[in-house]
């Protein structure tokens, strides 16, 4: 395995993680506000189809991405309206939309199947592209991939280093406290769900106008990616940096699956591609188990020093979900 092969491979991993990053960062923002948008799987498909259709009709890639963001925001609006205003289960509405939007995209996408359409051109960043190794790895991509790098840091900065970000975390953790401090919980939850949906809505066009280059209906192979994105959001512990790590790990293992298939024909590539999921469940278990009550009881029976040690290890791993995730808010 020579260096060039490795570098091109890793560069393709960074590009392949782009759409997943949009979905994961969008969902992270939504869930930080206390809303689960479970519709991601349908959202990616319908924005992929819709974005391609608009770009195909208007010959404008920009309009295609814009359409993706608008459709994503609309789907998120249905989730927000049904759960916040109509007080229905977020999970139920999101789940129905996940299935219905997927089928809707197959149904409406028939005229655009396998049509040659516009595709985002590659664009190396002048200057940066000539940095040894890093240039080849990071800066000979396309605009959407650059945007996907940026959005990780922007989202992290916003959530953890700004005042509105603090309020965002507040309405997901203790909405009542945030309300008393003057935050309009209902309005903010609407806004963040829609913004998260718009960001996630870029994922579909990033596939159909960039990576996959077109709409192939059920053959697009996009069904399932939204569920993966939801899983990575949890894996990321509602932190954009950790979520980005999850998305890159996933794309890397997928690439590894393809590479290893020619070398190890005994292991089907699909097995390596889903290897992150047992890992994800294990991570979830490790970060959550410190919250379980039986652990406290078991620990209490142990000698003092051992107990402190275990308690410290558990605390360092703990990353609970936003405390009010999925819980409706009523201001009396």
């Amino acid at each position: 395995m020579d260096t060039t092969f490795l570098l091109t491979g890793l560069a393709s991993v960074l590009a392949a993680a782009g759409p997943i990053l949009f979905a994961v960062i969008g969902e992270t923002i939504t869930e930080r506000a206390g809303i689960i948008n479970l519709s991601m799987n349908g959202m990616i498909l319908i924005t992929a189809m819709g974005g391609f259709a608009v770009a195909y009709q208007s010959h404008s890639i920009l309009l295609g991405f814009l359409a993706g963001a608008i459709i994503g925001a609309l789907v998120a609006l249905i989730v927000a309206f049904s759960s916040i205003t109509l007080k229905q289960s977020q999970v139920a509405v999101g789940f129905v939309l996940a299935l219905a939007c997927r089928d809707l995209s197959y149904f409406l996408g028939v005229p655009y199947m396998n049509q040659p359409g516009p595709r985002l051109p590659a664009w190396s960043i002048p200057g940066l592209k000539d940095i040894p190794i890093l240039g080849q790895l990071l800066f000979r991509q396309d605009l959407m991939t650059y945007l996907s790098y940026l959005i990780i840091f922007l989202a992290w900065l916003y959530i953890f280093r700004t005042r509105p970000g603090l309020t965002l975390r507040g309405i997901g953790e203790r909405p009542a406290a945030a309300f008393v401090r003057g935050a309009n919980v209902t309005r903010l939850r609407y806004i963040y769900t829609i913004v998260g949906g718009a960001i996630a809505g870029l994922a579909g066009p990033a596939y159909s106008l960039n990576i996959k280059g077109g709409w192939m209906g059920i053959q697009s192979g996009l069904d399932g990616i939204g569920w993966i994105a939801l899983a990575i959001t949890i894996f990321g512990g509602w932190n954009p940096l950790r979520a980005a790590f999850g998305a890159y790990l996933f794309a890397f293992l997928q690439w590894l699956g393809l590479v290893l298939q020619s070398r190890l024909p005994n292991i089907p590539s699909q097995v390596l591609q889903v290897a992150p999921f047992p890992l994800m469940i294990l991570t979830l278990l490790l970060v959550n188990i410190g919250n379980a009550e039986w652990i406290d009881r078991t620990l209490a029976a142990l000698p003092e020093r051992t107990r402190r040690l275990i308690a410290r290890i558990l605390r360092s791993m703990r990353a609970s979900q936003p405390a009010s995730l999925g819980v409706p808010f009523e201001n009396e």
């Binding site: 049904s82 109509l86 509405v93 129905v96 149904f107 899983a231 889903v274 959550n288 379980a292 039986w294």
Partner: protein, 345 residues
């Protein structure tokens, strides 16, 4: 009180009509004559004996997954891992049949053992999600989602790895079993009276379990308000885990039936979306087991009948999924609107 029932019904009917109107608009937008299209779906579902047989064959697994998730929904659990549980049922059944097919046991015994293995497989996979939730604090939606992918990976590994066909493994699945290991079916069809009987038995059991037993009452108490149930002396975590096990057993049976009576082998994606569709059915009927059989029948009729749209109008058969989704979404939203209006007056 009586007036309320009429208002509820009016809202539900209104929601269903809205969903149909939206779907009809979609058909018009796609350039198909809507009434002829609905007629084609109807004919595709029930037009001939062959069609009805196919409908019934697909109805059974949906009935079982619906029955399963009715139990977990009653316990207040969102068992999204139902697809993986069905897959594990199919894997365990295939494993048992492979293990026993060359022994001297009579074929009937092997089939029964195979189906039991499938039930155990589904229950174990569901139990894992339940244990992760109760002892590990892992939300059942997230745990179930992950376990679905693990189940898919396991199937693919088996189909391409240890259980691959002589020669080379392929997406078409493992080597089909000998005909003596097929669940007996009606002549010239894959419809098995055994599978039909078992599935109907399960939904009847679920109906009475939830409606007329102490167990069902306590299960619903755990679902509605676990803290109150716990204070009343209901062993809450045991009930949650048991709900998962029971659901997994029913769904595992669906996987076992797909292997022994429909495909006679293990395929990738053998759960075929029945688990997710079962969740939709359960939501549409508002968790009332009495409606499970007819609504599941209606959904499967839409799904099998919609293939005609592809043949006649070059439309995608996913129209069925769109209509099913709209129906559930509109009923959910209609219920929300009703609650808002009732509260105000």
């Amino acid at each position: 009180m009586k007036k309320n029932i009429w208002v509820n019904t009016a809202f539900q009917v209104g929601a269903l009509i809205t969903a149909f109107l939206l779907s009809t608009l979609l058909l018009v937008a796609a350039g198909a004559p809507p009434f002829k299209a609905y007629a084609a779906i109807f004919k595709g579902a029930l037009g001939s004996i062959g069609n009805v047989e196919n409908l019934l064959i697909s109805w059974l697994p949906l009935l079982l997954t619906t029955a399963g998730v009715l139990i977990t929904f009653s316990a207040g659990l969102w068992n999204i891992g139902v697809e993986g549980q069905m897959t594990l049922g199919a894997i365990f059944t295939t494993g048992a049949l492979r293990l026993l097919q060359n022994t001297s046991l009579p074929p009937g015994t092997i089939i029964v053992l195979g189906i039991l293995a499938g039930i155990i497989g589904g229950a174990l996979w569901a139990g894992l999600a339940g244990v992760l939730k109760t002892f590990g604090g892992v939300n059942e939606i997230f745990g179930g989602l992950g376990l679905n992918f693990v189940a898919t990976a396991l199937t693919i590994y088996l189909v391409f790895g240890p259980w691959k066909r002589p020669g080379v493994g392929s997406m078409s699945g493992t080597q089909p079993f000998d005909q003596s290991l097929w669940l007996p079916s009606l002549p010239n069809t894959e419809l098995s009276p055994w599978a039909l009987g078992l599935s109907i038995l399960v939904i009847v059991v679920v109906y009475f379990l939830l409606r007329g037993t102490y167990f069902g009452l306590r299960l619903k108490a755990v679902g509605k308000n676990p803290k109150a149930a716990y204070l009343m002396g209901v062993p809450t975590w045991q009930y949650s885990v048991f709900a998962f096990l029971l659901c997994g057993a029913f769904v595992g049976l669906a996987g076992a039936i797909q292997v022994t009576s429909v495909y006679h082998r293990l395929l990738p994606n053998i759960s075929g979306g029945y688990g997710f569709l079962g969740l939709l059915v359960a939501m549409l009927i508002n968790y009332q087991a009495i409606w499970a059989a007819p609504v599941a029948f209606f959904f499967i009729g839409l799904t099998t009948g919609s293939v005609q749209l592809q043949v006649l109008y070059k439309l995608d058969s996913s129209f069925a999924g769109v209509l099913e989704g709209f129906l559930v979404l509109m009923v959910l939203m209609g219920e929300g609107v009703r609650q808002r209006l009732v509260k105000k007056t």
